[in-house]
């Protein structure tokens, strides 16, 4: 069986295939004409079909990773990454490629309906090729989505670690969400830089917003405290809830070298004591007046 013959057929029937493919796409309920115009869709589809025809010219229907498929890969990359960003669903992206399968098979049936054996091999070949291509598309689609997620993670990390100056020489850093190593790195960088900028002696790390503390999170906390000490400042950890205290003890994590407090308020109190500061209620005129009256 000559695969080049099949490639010839594709080339010859390109127009018919494209028309039929477009028809399938336009008829599909899942057509997102809100996200992509019909003209753009046709241009994209033609580009992809051209790529496939060029790639199969030498009869290669099997190996989509060979250099002949570079152009096809590029076009598919482009399509799935832009579609991932535009908000197409995975089904819509995969269906786009799979609907081409139907269009090609229709042409083959028309041409070779009196040669069932040839037709069978051709359909099998087409199936395999288009399946491979749709897997490729899906992979790149996922990669596109992952990039979006990664960018968002970076943004979240960036905005979710504010360092607040609560007093002259005292910084507070509320941590919300899970502390992984990536996040710890950002927390440390922000905190240490702010210690340098403000010349602060004490940093309070408030973990009320951290859902769970396991040994890894504890290790990250200990690292942050050690780095703060190396800079010449002291670190207090506050916001330790009852269940967190329980897990810490049950896991056998040693936090004895770290100053810990239940609430941010008591941590601040400790910080005041460490800086020999005294905060007390002002003796207002009212009180003195009432004393006078009495």
């Amino acid at each position: 069986m000559n695969t080049k013959q099949t490639a010839q057929l594709l080339k010859k029937q390109k127009k018919t295939i494209l028309e039929s493919w477009m028809k399938h796409q336009l008829a599909d309920e899942a057509l997102r004409d809100d996200l992509i115009s019909n003209d753009d869709l046709r241009r994209q589809s033609e580009e992809l079909l051209n790529g496939i025809i060029t790639a199969t010219e030498k009869g290669n229907f099997d190996n989509v990773y060979s250099s002949e498929y570079d152009l096809v890969n590029d076009v598919l990359n482009d399509i799935s990454i832009t579609r991932a960003r535009q908000g197409f669903s995975p089904r819509e992206v995969t269906m786009y490629v799979l609907s081409l399968k139907q269009a090609i098979i229709e042409v083959m049936i028309k041409e070779h309906k009196d040669q069932p054996e040839l037709l069978f091999t051709e359909i099998q070949m087409t199936n395999k090729l288009l399946d491979n291509l749709s897997i490729l598309t899906f992979e790149t689609y996922l990669k596109g989505r992952e990039e979006v997620i990664l960018r968002q993670t970076d943004e979240i990390n960036e905005i979710s670690t504010p360092v607040i100056r609560v007093w002259d020489g005292i910084l507070a850093l509320p941590i919300i969400g899970t502390l992984d190593s990536q996040r710890t790195q950002i927390v440390m960088e922000n905190l240490l830089q702010e210690i340098v900028n403000t010349g602060s002696n004490i940093a309070i790390l408030d973990i009320s917003g951290v859902p769970a503390v396991d040994s890894l999170v504890a290790q990250h906390l200990i690292k942050t405290v050690s780095a703060t000490r190396l800079m010449g400042a002291e670190c207090i950890i506050s916001g330790i809830r009852a269940e967190i205290a329980q897990t810490i003890v049950h896991l056998g994590i040693d936090l004895s070298s770290i100053k810990t407090k239940a609430s941010l308020a008591s941590a601040l109190q400790l910080a005041f004591t460490m800086l020999s500061l005294e905060v007390k209620k002002k003796n207002t005129g009212n009180i003195q007046n009432s004393r006078l009256i009495r």
Partner: protein, 138 residues
Amino acid sequence: MDRIPILKMGPFLLVTIQVDLYDRLALSLENDLINMVSKTGARGVLIDISAVNIVDSFMGRILGNIASMSRIMDAETVVVGMQPAVAITLVELGLTLQGVHTALNVEKGMDLLYDKSDLLTDEQNNQEDTEEPDDYND
């Protein structure tokens, strides 16, 4: 051969490291500093590493050695001005400079030395006004 200059400031010795240390230079600093402590009877050593970009385990060991040796001769050691990137790297490396006091800058380091060595600063001599200490690791 290059040498790192050691300055005497009152009861303390002050060293500012301005270059990336290669091993022999670091070793000679350790040697010179300990000899100076012994000769001058200094009560404290202040090492400013604000210009140092890289502290590896060798350099960390030198700092630790200086602190331990000085302590035997009744002098405290304060390392000041460590860059954030260096601090993060040292922690990851597993080096926490046990026995070495740290402070943010030379000024705070001096205060800390006065505090640790039970000496009164000039200011305190004049007006019993207690300065805030910087280091609470005991």
